[in-house]
């Protein structure tokens, strides 16, 4: 997994690529915890290049979401590929995460 972190209209954008699993999620967790500590108001996670996510990866995002909410921040996911939409649909994660189609949609509200 690779993580590219950029800024877009005041939001931090985490562009992830590859597999987010037991082995790669600690690196994501480290970055999330850093920016939660910085109390960033909006954190957007770009899934367009993610090939797979397992439950460890989802748990890392859940922890990130909780961390963001603890200081009143928001975390949104966008650009989720079809293969991963299936995992999210099974897992009913749309009831947990704010999921948007594109970066523009994610920034809008």
């Amino acid at each position: 997994m690779k993580i590219d972190i950029t800024e877009h209209n005041g939001a931090k954008v985490f562009s992830l690529s590859g597999d987010i699993d037991l082995y790669s999620s600690p690196a994501l967790r480290k970055e999330l915890i850093f920016f939660i500590g910085e109390k960033v108001p909006l954190l957007l996670v770009d899934f367009r290049d993610v090939s797979y996510i397992d439950s460890s990866g989802i748990a890392t995002l859940v922890e990130g979401l909780r961390g963001m909410m603890s200081h009143g921040g928001k975390m949104k996911l966008f650009g989720i590929p079809e293969r991963i939409v299936e995992i999210f649909a099974f897992s009913k994660l749309d009831k947990v995460f704010d999921i948007c189609g594109s970066l523009d949609d994610a920034v809008k509200d």
Partner: protein, 428 residues
């Protein structure tokens, strides 16, 4: 006429005798240091020998901590006795810091006849121990895997033999590296035994038998962990007379943390399931009891209560993959209304009902089955599982068929995730 014998001066002879003496000591030392693999026994032997060879007042060994990228005092001996505990707790050096740090960074020995005139000298160790360092010889200890540490002799005699000391240090490095490997292998063995015990304890959280019969219902389960311990769970309970509750679940993550969380899930579930008359109530309560788990951990699961006299099923799903309903000629993928995984957000779980007919089967599974990965990195996928079940609709040993299918697809590689399949047969 014989040749005139070469005369050897007394000085040369003395030098040769010293060399022979030193080489003899090296041979002795090699047998001593190869006699133990115990790190704590080895280090004092090494230090005493170093001190004796160099006729030094003190010596120390600093080991390289790869993770911290620092040098740490392992042992320090001086004439007044060991000061290692004092240094061990309080003094560590960065790479490049002090004489030892310089030697570690440059992987070259260093001889400092007068530390007072060398800016690299780091005096904090002296302040702490009350010892006065005048001169230092520091040699890097380099093993097969790179830097191990630095050996220092302090206030040595003037007439020292650097060549012999470096040879000595090479022996030290090999001996220390061997003892560190030994220490690691003992630690690995200890961890393996701990995991064996943990695995046995975890298995005890699952039902004693993987097959459960009640009235017209037969429930069978197969659970295979990817590691010694896993995060999948299944359970059979009897919440009331004539009713059987069947749970399948998958805890996020893998390994020890998932196993411990699974143990909590198991005990909370058994307590809750006995008091809850519907699957939705049970999941609502489990969601409350598992809320706020560390590291975002959660449980996906299906909880189903079957009436053993009528075949009526009530089911609630928490973010878990669909289950399959196999009847005489069809396989239905049962995506019933569901809530999110348990333990993440407050939720009320919906429930669905249906009635089993004679000969019907239900297959509940975890994602370890359809997330099986082949050597090209492709995943089996849920649809392939449905296709296989459809093709083998009437096969008795369907669970084994599915496990073999995933294993064949993976090509015998290591299992990446825990795998659990629960089958319910009605009226068999």
């Amino acid at each position: 006429m014989g040749e005139k014998p070469t005369e050897i001066s007394g000085e040369v002879l003395k030098g040769m005798e010293k060399k022979v003496e030193a080489l003899k000591m090296l041979m002795d030392l090699s047998s001593v240091i190869s006699s133990t693999l115990d790190f704590s026994e080895l280090i004092p032997i090494v230090m005493e020998k170093a001190k004796a060879v160099m006729e030094a007042e003190a010596c120390s060994i600093l080991l390289y901590n790869k993770d911290a990228n620092r040098l740490e005092f392992e042992v320090a001996l001086c004439e007044e006795g060991p000061t290692s505990e004092l240094l061990k707790k309080q003094v560590t050096l960065e790479m490049g810091q002090g004489i030892a740090g310089w030697v570690a960074q440059n992987l070259r020995p260093l001889v400092i006849p007068d530390v007072g005139s060398d800016k690299r000298f780091y005096g904090d160790a002296d302040k702490l121990t009350g010892f006065t360092t005048k001169s230092i010889i520091a040699v890097p200890l380099i093993g097969r895997g790179g830097l191990i540490g630095v050996a220092e002799v302090i206030n040595h005699k003037k007439d020292y033999d650097m060549e012999i000391f470096q040879l000595l240090c090479r022996q030290f490095a090999i001996a220390i590296e061997n003892s560190l490997f030994h220490k690691e292998s003992l630690e690995r063995e200890r961890m393996k035994q701990e995991l064996d015990i943990a695995s046995a304890i975890q298995k005890s959280f699952l039902p004693a038998s993987p097959v459960f019969r009640k009235g017209n219902l037969i429930v069978s389960a197969k659970n295979i962990s990817a590691a010694k311990v896993g995060g999948d769970i299944y359970d059979f309970v009897e919440p009331a007379e004539g009713r059987v509750g069947v749970l399948i679940g998958d805890v996020s993550g893998k390994g020890v943390s998932a196993a411990i969380y699974m143990a909590k899930v198991s005990s909370d579930f058994r307590y809750i399931a006995c008091l809850a008359d519907s699957p939705s109530t049970a999941l609502d309560r489990l969601n409350i009891s598992l809320a706020g788990a560390p590291r975002g951990m959660f449980l996906t699961g299906i909880y189903m209560i079957v009436d053993t006299s009528t075949g009526n099923c009530h089911v609630s799903v928490a973010g878990h993959p669909p289950f399959l309903w196999l009847s005489d000629s069809t396989v239905r993928v049962m995506s019933v209304p569901a809530g999110p995984p348990v333990g993440i957000v407050p939720s009320e779980y919906p429930s669905a009902s249906f009635r089993l007919n004679k000969g019907d089967r239900l297959i509940l599974l975890t994602d370890g089955l359809f997330d099986a990965k082949n050597r090209d990195g492709q995943r089996l996928g849920f649809d392939a599982v449905v296709k296989l079940v459809t093709e083998h609709l009437h096969e008795e040993q369907l669970i084994e068929r599915l496990v073999d299918f995933a294993d064949d697809f993976s090509g015998g590689g290591d299992r990446a995730d825990d795998l659990t399949i629960v089958e319910l047969k009605w009226g068999a």
